[in-house]
């Protein structure tokens, strides 16, 4: 059994009993990275010297009382890490070696004494569903490296699945934590909008972005969210709502839980293997004393179009800051200021980023604002109302995380609309601002993981975790490991 097959709680006990040291844990990370990362490309930057020094310092420290003491973590590369290169997988930030501050989530994790192993691969500026939009070599799926790990937090999911780190952070704007978690067979949580501070997260679409944990177990996930959640005066959109002890909600009791299953989430376009895995999961819930009923979220089919208009519009404004003046790579080929902006951005941004900036600028431009941006905001209200209505009668909504298991590298990259459609089951959750988790619920015939999505009410992550945990404890999908570089 590899070290990272243990939960945080188990490793904490081993540290406490002097069976292992933090140096062992950190060495395990780099050993595994050495073994497999040239195949899965989960990491963009390693923090090896600092991480090893920190491990040593933690081992020598008198006080071992922190809730994530010595746990090796990987951080998505759009989260600011002081003094540690942060690129958003973009050539524009290729030289951004020395970020000036830590994101609030990093401050919180560091207060609990994690060890940052390195920065994780992603689609450039978090725009993409496959990691093929990384401007470096895209991450690959540890279960089968011909397949994508999902995106945009593909490196975050692949690193946890392959046992390179114990947990990671991702960010989720339209499914970017849950979809790669589903594709890589790990647990990924997108918390309620406003639950986690986004100070220091490089903004993509500010009305949708959330940071969340990716782990191998629900318990570990709850444990990390407990640390990173909460109000932050540096993020005006973070909510001043108490953070419950999520780990205490893992009671293994779902008797009487009322589950809604939207018929739109099992409609045509959802792969039969995925559908079967979800139906089996519902049987597990029945056997545990929960009940489920089919419901309708009638505006689901409009979610993808709504999302692309809103997120691209917001991105076009957020990415205006990348102008080549204060940081980033400036074009050498311009002799006046406007050309410098234009050429730095054109040389620094990849195709998908430019496409979305163009779409967003168009949707916000004079004469089109009402027809596109405002219209999409109104449809967003309808989508949110769909969820509000269902949550009057049900505790959670359950469906697949993705319509299919991980697709092949190259399969969808040349057709933006086909790629976008892949996010149809995760996007509505961001539009409604509710929390959603993906947990492993089966495997396709060719051995690729399938994810079960559990969606809850605003700020009711506790019920989402309790529901996910009960399923996990009743099944063994979360104990399966990809065979890359030998089972780990």
């Amino acid at each position: 059994m590899a070290l990272f097959d243990h939960t945080i709680k188990e490793l904490e006990e081993k540290l406490h009993n002097n069976e292992i040291t933090v140096e062992d844990l950190v060495a395990e990370s780099y050993k595994r990275i050495e073994e497999v990362d040239d195949q899965i490309h989960a990491f963009l930057t390693l923090n090896e010297a600092d991480a090893k020094a920190k491990a040593k310092a933690l081992d020598n420290a008198k006080d071992h009382g922190a809730s994530l003491f010595g746990m090796p973590a990987g951080i998505k590369d759009n989260i600011m890490t002081k003094g540690l290169r942060t690129t958003c997988a973009s050539q524009f930030l290729d030289n951004f070696e020395d970020p000036l501050y830590d994101a609030t989530v990093m401050q919180k994790l560091n207060n609990e004494k994690i060890v940052t192993v390195g920065k994780l691969n992603m689609d450039e500026f978090a725009m993409g569903s496959s990691n093929e939009n990384s401007s470096y070599t895209g991450a690959r799926n540890p279960w089968n490296t011909d397949h994508v790990p999902g995106g945009s937090s593909g490196g975050s999911a692949a690193a946890v699945a392959a046992g390179e780190v114990l947990f990671s952070l991702g960010s989720d704007t339209g499914g970017s934590i849950r979809q790669p978690a589903a594709f890589c067979g790990v647990v990924g949580m997108k918390p309620t909008y406003g639950r986690v501070s986004r100070f220091g997260l490089v903004a993509f679409a500010s009305s949708l972005d959330q940071i969340g944990p990716i782990t191998r177990t629900v318990e570990d996930n709850a444990r990390v969210l407990e640390v990173i959640a909460g109000h932050d005066k540096m993020d005006a959109t973070s909510a001043n709502v108490d953070v419950p002890k999520y780990t205490q909600s893992l009671t293994n009791d779902v008797k009487g839980l009322k589950i809604a299953v939207p018929k739109e989430y099992l409609a045509e376009g959802v792969n039969p293997e995925v559908k079967e895995a979800v139906m089996n999961a519902l049987k597990v819930y029945e056997s545990l004393g929960a009940t489920w009923e089919e419901v309708s979220l009638p505006h689901s089919k409009y979610a993808v179009a709504t999302y692309y208009l809103l997120s691209s519009s917001e991105a076009s404004a957020n990415l205006a800051r990348f102008d080549g003046v204060r940081y980033g790579v400036r074009s050498e080929n311009a002799d006046n200021m406007i050309d410098m902006f234009k050429m730095s951005r054109s040389e620094g941004f990849g195709k998908e980023v430019k496409r979305r900036i163009m779409l967003g600028t168009f949707a916000l431009s004079s004469g089109y604002y009402d027809a596109y941006y405002k219209k999409a905001q109104k449809v967003r209200t309808l989508i949110k109302n769909d969820f509000d209505k269902i949550f009057e009668d049900y505790d959670v909504v359950i469906g697949p995380t993705t319509p299919t298991p991980a697709f092949k590298v190259g399969e969808k990259i040349n057709d933006p609309l086909t790629m976008y459609a892949n996010d149809i089951l995760t996007i509505p959750v961001n539009l409604a601002g509710v929390p959603g988790i993906s947990v492993p619920c089966g495997f396709s015939e060719n051995g690729l993981p399938i994810g079960l999505q559990i969606i809850g009410k605003h700020f009711d992550e506790s019920t989402v975790y309790r529901t996910a945990h009960a399923f996990e404890q009743a099944t063994d999908y979360h104990t399966k490991r990809p065979q890359i570089g030998g089972a780990k």
Binding site: K301, Y327, H458
Partner: protein, 96 residues
């Protein structure tokens, strides 16, 4: 309304401060046209009496005192700059 012309694409690229080649204009016209066409489906919905959602939570503005605080030094702010001079960011000429 569904179509977008090459001229519009060039105009939008200028607004977005992106330099585009003729080839890119060609490709973007096609791709953006397809995406906008797809987005037209939203017009199937009557939203006349629907309020737009700008924020999903019922948060109110919270005010704080406007007090200056230590953040980063001038030196730090310039640390990642592509070009600097005399403690300031340097850029190419703004006026012709």
């Amino acid at each position: 309304m569904a179509d977008i012309s090459k001229e519009q694409v060039k105009h939008v690229a200028h607004l977005a401060r992106l330099a585009v080649t003729d080839e890119e204009v060609e490709k973007l016209t096609e791709e953006l046209g397809a995406i906008i066409q797809y987005a037209e489906q939203l017009n199937e919905l009557d939203t006349e009496n629907v309020e737009p959602t700008t924020h999903v939570l019922d948060l109110k503005n919270v005010m704080r005192k406007d007090e200056s605080k230590e953040w980063i030094t001038q030196e730090e702010a310039l640390k990642n700059a592509p070009d600097k001079k005399d403690g300031q960011f340097r850029v190419p000429s703004i006026l012709e």
